[in-house]
Structures are given as C-alpha cells and as structure tokens.
Amino acid sequence: MTPFGFSNRVLAVVVALFAIGYLVLAFRMPEFTAVEVPVQPSTLPRWLGAVLLVLAGVLFFQRGAPGEDGERVPAAGSAGTAAGTGDAGMDGGSGDAGGEGAGAAAGAAAPRAFLGRIPDARLELAAFAGSIAAYVLLFEPLGFLISTAVYVFGASWYLGYRRHWANALVSVGVPAVLYFTMSEFLDVALPTGPLPF
C-alpha cells in the first residue's frame, strides 16, 4: 500500500489548478505606477504561473501509476518483517529505487513494536496530524510546559510505548529542560499558560 500516492494525471490537474489560481491572482495584482520600474511586482509571478502551467501539461502526458514513486508501507499486522519496501532517500529523489540493503536489514531484525493502532495507514496519518493540530491549538492557552507534556505522553502512549513511568519522566523532563534552556539562556519566551513561571 502506498498511502496518498496519486497518478501523474491527478497530480498534473492539481498543479494546473494551483497554477491557474496563482495566475489569476498575479494578473489582478495592481501595477506599481509611482515610479517607473522595469519589473512590476507581478512580472515574476506571471512567469512562474505560466511555467507551472506548462510543466503541469507535460506531467499530464507522462506515464505513471498511482504512488509508483512513493514509499510503500507494511500492511497491518505484518510490521517489522514486511519492511522490505523501497526505502527512498527522501530528497535525493531516488524515488523508490531499490533499498535492498535497508529492507534486508529490517527483515532480518526481530519484529519491532508496531507504531500506532489504526490498521489503515491513511487514517493513522490523519489521526497523527490531528494530534499535532490539537497540540498547536492548546500551545498558547495551556502554555508550553503543560501542552507539550500532555502531547508527548499521549502520543507516545498511543503509538505504543508501554513503559509508562519512563514515558511520564520524558514527557515532563524534556519540555522542562527545553523550556528553561530557552527562557534562561536564550531569552526565548515560550508561552507559560496558567503556570506562574
């Protein structure tokens, strides 16, 4: 399974829609007339939008199955041993080329703890993104220390960390160290929330 992998046609349409929206905004941008300038604020955006539209057209006609460049993920229940997936160097751009070594190494290792609880990787990812969103929402109202401790403990527990005391220690200790380093030495004021310090 390759979560969130799409075919080139779908991707091209998305890029094209973005480019069209961008071009509309670029052409609506007011001209700068106070002084004569050879390059208007909208000059480069117009070029970029046009180039993007052309590139989307090129992409549309390229072959490509959904998610062929993406990273496949092990199906639920076969974690660890089913790891011989193309494990791409993420931005070197080698796509899913090979990764034999990594796959073999992971396959040989004992099955490790299975992260998360929902079998469908897409839903699991959405849930994880949702937990980050909740963290961001609570970041200022609860303050850095409380929100981070709650987030780290909750997320680690959810992902399958079973040593609850160690977890509690980490979730309180790491934010505390970070917080006091940032505020005492670097003068970075993280939100305090209801706490007095």
Binding site: F4, Y22, M29, P38, V39, P41, L44, L48, L52, L55, L59, G67, D69, G70, E71, V73, A79, G80, A82, A83, T85, A88, G89, M90, D91, G92, G93, S94, G95, G98, G101, A102, G103, A105, A106, R112, A113, L115, G116, A121, E124, F128, A129, V136, E140, T148, Y151, V152, S156, L159, G160, Y161, V170, V174, L178, M182, L186, V188, A189, L190
Partner: protein, 542 residues
C-alpha cells in the same frame, strides 16, 4: 615571505590561552546549538553575540567564528541522525547520511562528516590565506544579470541531480520560488499573496518550510512505515578502512575546492556549495546510481564543501566588508558593534584581528575534530530512542524551533501544512530539495533580475549580452537536458548498452553537457544564492 610572518603572527594570537579557550567554547556551543533542529549558524551566532559583547574584539570574533563552523557541523549531525537538517547547508548531507544511519552506519557517517568537515575547513583556510585578494576581485566583477543566471543554473543543477522525474523536480523548484515571493515586495511595497494575513507580510520563513518538508514529513513517513526500517541504534565502528579512505579522498578534495570558491562569491554560500559538490560527485562517480541510498561519498562531498564554503564566505567579509551570506552578515554586525570595521583597510589597521581570525579557523577546525570524534557515540545514541517516543519529540523540537522564531501559532499551522505537503510530495516522487532551494534563491533572484533590468532600461537582452550570463544560462539549460539527450541517444536501439544500468538512473556521465560544474572556479560559482534564508540577504544588494 611577508605573508608567512603574518600567518605566524596570527597563530600567536590564536594560540594565546584565552583565545584558545574561547575557540573551544565557541565550537562546543555551536555544535550543540547547531544539532537542535531549527537552530542554525545564524541563530547560534546571534545567540552568542550578547556573550561576546564584553570581550576584546579579537577574542570575540574568534569565538563567534568557532560558533559558526561548530554549528555547521552540528547541523550535519542532526541531518544524519534524524533527517532534520536545521541548516540549509546540511540538507545535502542528509541525502546519504540519513540512509547510512538507517542502515546502522550512523557512527561511520558521523566520522566521515567530521573528517570531511575538517578537510574542507583546512583546505579553505589555506586557500583563504593564499588567494583571498585575487578571488575577491573576481567575484566582485559579477553583475546582477550574471547573478540571475547563476541562480537559474543553481536551480536547474539541483533539479537535474534530484532524481528520475525532471518535470516533478522543476515543479518543486518553481513552487519554491512561488513561496519565496509571498509577502511585501521589497521594492514597491506591494502585498503579494498575503491574503490579508499579517503573519505573511514578511514572507514565509525558510525554517518553517525546511522543518516541515524534511523533519515533519519524515515523522509522517516513519509512522506510515510503522517504525520499521529504521536504524537499530547500534553504534557501529567509527573506523574507516583503507579502501574507504582512498574512495573518499578525491570527493573530499574536490568538495573542499568547490566549496571554497562558491563560498567566496557574495551571496553564494554553504547551501549551494554542498548541493554543487553533491551533484558533481554523483555525476563523476561510477556508482552514481547508489547516491541517495547511503553512499559514503555522498556524505563526504557536501560536508567538505559546506565547511570550506563557511571559510570562503569570510573572504568578502574580511577583505571587502561585504558579507557573503546571512551568517557573515550577522558577524559583520557583531564586528561593527565591537568597533572593528572590516574592509580593505582592516588588514593594515587591525592585522591582529584579520590574521587572528584566519589562524583561529585552523585551530577551530582541529578543535572540531578533537571534540566531535569522541562524542560521536553519544550523538548516535539518539537513534536508540524508541520510535514511539522519538516521533512526538521531533514534533516538539520542530514546534519550539518555529515558535522561537516568530512567537505566533500561525507559523505552527504553516509548519503542519508544510509537513503534510512534504509527505504528499515524497509519496508522489516530488523531490523536496529543489523546493527549498527555490525558496532560498527566489527573493534574491527577483532582486538581481530587477537590478539587471534597471541597468539595461528594461531590455531583457541584458541576460544574453554579458558573456558570463550567457555561459551560465547555457549550462543551466544543458544541466537537465544533457542526461535526457544521453538517454535518448542510447535510446531503445541499444538497451543492452554496457553502461545501461547507469543511464537508467539518469546518471549523466555520457551526456555532452552532463557535467557542467566539475569543480573549476569559474563554473563553481554557478549559483550565487544566499546561504541563509532569503530575508537575510539585503546586505548584498548593490
């Protein structure tokens, strides 16, 4: 021989116990700060400036220089271990360093990084002493049109190294430039693509995008893999065998030279240097197809280059008083506060500062090696953290890095958005590196374009009349097209061609224009981008 005397004088300054102590403190602090994802040399130096205030100017600048290359090395540590480059200059290191770490070779990757950094820094310092004045003259002769073409070449070169699908790489690069144009236009004060959101008026910070598409996207990917396929935290031997040393010596030497020359150009910096060195090695190597999957050369080349470039960027700062990067711009600010005016007169007026800094770089590189090699097992322990705990912690580090920059939760939402974007991009074969480079270069590109057209009264032909510019633009077109031509020529007629496997991955060894940037000084400048985030580059506008 006068130079030798002066170098000796410089070493006397640098080896004074007090200065030695502060080099040590600077390098250590820089490494630790640089390791934290999100904190780079710029923030590291900025954070240390208050401490430097009370000091003697020479000691202060020596310490700050130590912070600089310590932070560059610290950034490579987090690139290798967590795939979370806190600095744009170490993004290229993560391409092969992180795969190595995941194969259980984290110790080796870090050792290579430390040694290559040392080599790069050392070569850089020697070159700085020998040919700084000449180089400065050459770099200054570049006009805005040449700079614009340089940056175009920088972008296409990165795209062509980026992977199998050229179109997707170009789309990523264009989107990067699109992001860089968000905010108030610096020349006309026009709002562009801000949608009335005040947080966007100053543009999108490089750091948010970098942490999103690299670190956060990596967290998503780790979760989707269910924690499998990661390095098992075994700290393998740091030792390199003789064959590896031989393999690494040439890429390191080339990376050092290339890095230095790119670093010297005002506006260029460690980022471009490391990408250039990486792409050059990928093109030159017979096993170029294994780059991106843990090739040791892919760690050595960008590491030597980014450290050499860090040294190289001191050339325009010290000899011209023009900072070559965002980081040296901050250093310039610190020097001015301390009452030292860098520039052509500095050599005669404050030789202690000039040669002291030069010599301290050498000492600092040595300290970096001595300090970091023994600490590598400690750094590599990061990998032993259980995945279930590591994932939330990386999220927290990203949050802190971003929030500490702007103090708004809006940027945290942006971070999450770029994390999702980065994950979707990587699932569909869009490389993230061109996006980042486009973002870094975008603002400067537009500025050079404006300056060039202002000078030429709006005639676009100006990009084709300067010989430098023409050559660079030609290379910019050839860089991605060369490999394509090579593939076409071999084409379907000769599928059993002996060099088939290499051609298959787009390794452009056969292409006529396939290796435009093979380490010569003229062409190594082919990417005059700013080292730091685009917003820090105002200083080099001329």
């Amino acid at each position: 021989m006068e130079t030798l005397d002066q170098i000796g004088y410089g070493f006397a300054v640098a080896l004074a116990p007090e200065n030695l102590l502060f080099v040590f403190i600077g390098v250590l602090a820089g490494t630790v700060i640089g390791m934290l994802p999100g904190l780079g040399p710029m923030s590291a130096i900025a954070l240390m400036i208050p401490i430097a205030f009370g000091m003697d100017p020479t000691t202060a600048i020596i310490m700050l220089a130590g912070v600089y290359y310590g932070a560059v090395f610290g950034g490579s540590t987090s690139s290798i271990l967590l795939n979370a480059p806190g600095i744009s200059g170490t993004v290229a290191t993560s391409f092969d360093g992180y795969p190595m770490a995941r194969q259980g070779k984290a110790g080796k990757a870090l050792a290579i990084a430390a040694i290559a950094s040392f080599a790069g820094g050392t070569v850089g310092v020697v070159l700085l002493m020998l040919i700084a004045p000449w180089l400065a003259k050459f770099a200054v002769s570049f006009g805005p049109a040449d700079y614009f073409s340089l940056m175009i070449l920088g972008l296409t070169a990165v795209v062509s190294l980026g992977g199998k699908n050229l179109t997707k790489g170009l789309i990523a690069a264009v989107v990067g430039v699109v992001i860089s144009l968000v905010g108030i236009d610096s020349q006309t004060a026009t709002m562009r693509f801000t949608f009335g959101v005040p947080e966007l008026f100053e543009g999108v910070q490089f750091l948010i995008v970098a942490l999103g598409v690299f670190a956060l996207a990596e967290v998503f990917a780790m979760l989707a893999r269910r924690g499998s396929g990661g390095g098992d935290g075994a700290i393998t031997s740091l030792r390199l065998n003789r064959r590896e040393v031989r393999t690494l010596s040439a890429p390191t030497a080339r990376g050092s030279l290339l890095g230095f020359f790119v670093g010297v150009l005002p506006g260029a910096g460690a980022t471009i240097a490391s990408f250039m060195a990486y792409s050059t090695e990928k093109r030159l190597a017979r096993d170029g197809a294994t780059f991106g999957r843990g090739n040791i050369k892919g760690v050595a080349a960008p590491e030597s280059a980014n450290n050499a470039a860090a040294v190289g960027s001191f050339v325009p700062l010290l000899t011209l008083g023009v900072p070559g990067s965002g980081t040296t711009a901050i250093l310039l600010g610190a020097l001015l506060v301390l009452g030292v005016q860098p520039g052509p007169l500095m050599l005669s007026e404050r030789p202690d500062v000039f040669w002291g800094v030069v010599a301290s770089m050498y000492v600092g590189n040595l300290v970096l090696l001595v300090l970091n090699l023994p600490l590598i097992p400690l750094f590599a322990k990061v990998l032993k953290t259980p995945r279930a705990v590591l994932l939330p912690l990386v999220v927290v580090f990203c949050m802190v890095g971003v929030y500490g920059l702007s103090f708004t939760t809006f940027d945290l939402w942006l971070l999450l958005g770029f994390g999702v974007l980065g994950y979707v991009m990587r699932q569909n074969g869009f490389p993230a590196a061109p996006l980042i480079l486009g973002l870094i270069l975008g603002g400067l590109m537009e500025k050079s374009m404006r300056q060039a057209l202002q000078i030429s009264d709006g005639a676009w032909s100006t990009f084709l009349t300067s010989p430098f510019s023409v050559a660079l633009l030609a290379l910019a077109v050839l860089a991605p097209v060369g490999p394509l031509l090579a593939r076409l020529r071999r084409g379907p007629a000769a599928p059993s061609d002996a060099s088939g496997p290499e051609a298959g991955d787009g390794a452009p060894d056969g292409g006529p224009g396939g290796r435009p940037d093979a380490g010569r000084p003229e062409s190594s400048g082919n990417s005059g981008g700013p080292a730091g985030g685009g917003e820090h580059t105002t200083a080099e506008g001329r």
